[in-house]
């Protein structure tokens, strides 16, 4: 496999509903932004690009099969090769890695990965039904299919096992909404307190409405290239590209039904020992084995032995405040069971922002400096690609250019990770990107 670079990206403004356009022009907004940032217009770019990968989760939300090809033709990319990727919430992360494979394998020099979701086409209750169809329809969905309920059951077990508190979870909500306050692409830009989070309507105990991401309409596009591809693009635009190198990718899986998850031994990362976890039954429903596997493989490819030391920031799949805490542990930022405390200490907060909280260790490793899913929104097929775009901008040091302010710029960011997550932890992807 050969080196792969991310050279550009774009994101549509995530919002509750985009009735002004259908999904194709929404993707074009993100695609045109990515091209503009490269200094290219479509007719010149299309001479160079070899193909694309499309990312969208639900045919139900669209009530339209083959939406991918409708984006491909609207963008003017026909008759170039393309295919659709689908894997629940991890659809965007999978799409990014499929584009990586297309380039790493030598099949393509330049590949576009675009994604979108239009969740406003049904009301929220129906949307929750569609999402819950991503659980076993014989055994899980009919019992009360509701993803917030599933995640609530997982965190109750995390609380039982490790003593995690709802206030620790609320720290994540405060952090991500506050970060998004400075991100013009985000859907929910709010300055909140711990009390606001806990006083919000209870959705599935102990998760309140401010512990949970919202449904969104949105699109994102990324452009990946080989070294040859980078040269071709630079030659065409006459401009130097500031790419990020994708140095590691990893994926993991787990059983669809939470009830089926094993209770065995922890899958260890290089900086952990079996003695750290005596008596812990793993993954149970308190941890995501798929997230651990994805992290392990991505770290191995990138040569990372201690993620806390090796990474400067992470954009991870915080569909719930609880799952951000669980993911800290899966990714090895702290030991299993320490995620709640790690959040409360402020380790994942930005060091330079005032959150109105007394934090002991602010800014050890900023997580979701963009605002994450909780505050940016979660138009499923776009989400994993949005993370890649924000990660590229962090590594380029170009947050100010794209956000209009540099409050969210992680100073001196050299290496970051993006993490995309499906179902109750069924498919998870981790990709590592480095400044060149």
């Amino acid at each position: 496999m050969r080196p792969v670079y991310m050279v550009s990206g774009g994101v549509s403004k995530f919002t509750k509903a985009r009735p002004d356009v259908t999904f194709q022009p929404m993707v074009k907004e993100a695609y045109d932004y990515a091209l503009k940032d490269l200094g290219l217009e479509h007719p010149r770019f299309v001479e160079i690009v070899d193909g694309s990968v499309a990312s969208y989760f639900s045919d139900h939300f669209q009530r339209q099969l083959m939406s991918g090809i409708m984006v491909q033709d609207y963008l003017g990319l026909c008759p170039k090769p393309s295919h659709r990727v689908e894997g629940g919430g991890a659809t965007g992360g999978l799409c990014f890695q499929e584009a990586w494979k297309s380039v790493a394998s030598g099949l393509m020099d330049v590949c576009v990965a675009y994604g979108f979701e239009t969740m406003s086409h049904v009301n929220t209750w129906k949307g929750n039904e569609f999402i819950a169809l991503a659980s076993d329809v014989s055994f899980d969905y009919p019992v009360g299919g509701f993803y917030s309920g599933y995640y609530a059951m997982m965190v109750v077990r995390h609380m039982q096992e490790f003593g995690t508190t709802v206030e620790q979870m609320a720290h994540i909500s405060v952090k991500n909404h506050n970060n998004a306050f400075h991100n013009p692409y985000a859907q929910k830009r709010k300055l909140l307190t711990i009390e606001d989070v806990r006083r919000a309507p209870m959705v599935a105990w102990p998760l309140t409405r401010l512990d949970i991401c919202v449904m969104s309409d949105g699109a994102a596009a990324t452009i990946l290239a080989s070294e040859e591809g980078v040269s071709k693009l630079e030659k065409a635009s006459g401009k130097r590209i500031k790419p990020a190198k994708i140095v590691g990718i990893g994926r993991g899986t787990d059983a669809m039904r939470m009830a089926d998850r094993p209770h065995r031994k922890v899958l260890l990362l290089p900086h952990e020992r079996a003695s750290d976890y005596r008596g812990l039954k793993y993954p149970g429903i308190h941890s995501f084995r798929a997230g651990r596997m994805a992290s392990k493989l991505a770290y191995e490819m990138a040569g990372i032995t201690n993620p806390l030391e090796a990474l400067d920031f992470i954009e991870l799949h915080d569909a719930y405040t609880s799952s951000e805490i669980q993911t800290y542990e899966d990714m090895g930022l702290c030991k299993y069971g320490e995620g709640g405390r790690w959040a409360e200490e402020g380790n994942s907060f930005l060091p330079n922002l005032d959150y109105g909280l007394a934090l002991k260790k602010p800014g050890t490793l900023p997580v979701n400096s963009s605002g994450g899913l909780i505050a940016c929104g979660h138009p499923v097929g776009a989400t994993g690609l949005m993370q890649a775009v924000f990660a590229l901008w962090q590594l380029q040091g170009s947050i100010k250019k794209h956000f209009g302010n540099d409050r969210l710029q992680v100073k001196g960011a050299r290496r970051g990770a993006i993490h995309s997550h499906a179902g109750t932890g069924t498919y998870v992807t981790v990709s590592i990107m480095e400044k060149v």
């Binding site: 209750w125 039904e129 409405r209 089926d260 429903i285």
Partner: protein, 188 residues
């Protein structure tokens, strides 16, 4: 669709707007819209939004899992056990996830314990009218996996971590619906 439970069970979100009439999606039948003489003005036109109903009856077979549902109809809770390694599934799997061998049916005890729970105050459309309801994963000491069910006989407005570990007993619907909710649990 506005939730009827919203006002009663949940306080107002800090970010919710002022007091207002509920918004519904039943809309109005409209047969024509104004149109400008100058076509250049069309790009400023507001989007036309229509309602497209969509209803499907699926012919869903439970296939190899069918005996589980026949069991519920006869007051029996069935799990499966691997014929080779002995791994025991509380939610049936007819092939072992661990060793790949075939599994046999066996009867689960009617008394288990709450492994974890939640109370759903909101839900997806199909279950919205049933809120608040309590979801649980049931555990048994000698069984390797869990079982998703509903817990009745506790106050859904007073959830407590004390529910974890609670001994519970299976009850069965007399008139089966051939759904996993033909069994549910109550405190033992």
């Amino acid at each position: 669709m506005a939730s009827p439970k919203r006002g009663r069970l949940n306080r107002k979100l800090p970010d919710e707007g002022p007091v207002a009439l509920p918004e519904t999606d039943d809309g109005t039948v409209l047969f024509n819209v104004p149109f400008p003489k100058d076509l250049a003005q069309l790009k400023a036109m507001a989007p036309i939004i229509i309602k497209q109903p969509y209803q499907i009856d699926y012919i869903h077979s439970y296939g190899q899992d069918s005996p589980f549902f026949a069991g519920l109809a006869n007051g029996k809770l069935l799990g499966t056990v691997c014929t080779k390694c002995g791994y025991k599934y509380a939610t049936p799997k007819l092939h072992c996830m661990d060793c790949g061998s075939e599994c046999d049916w066996f009867e689960l005890p009617h008394v288990g314990a709450v492994h974890t729970f939640t109370v759903c105050y909101f839900g997806s459309e199909e279950f919205q009218k049933e809120t608040p309801f309590v979801l649980i994963l049931v555990e048994w000491p000698s069984i390797d996996t869990l079982f998703l069910s509903r817990l009745l006989g506790v106050d859904p407005l007073k959830p407590s971590m004390d529910w974890v570990g609670m001994k519970i007993r299976a009850k069965f619907r007399r008139l089966s619906k051939f759904k996993p909710t033909d069994v549910y649990f109550v405190p033992a």
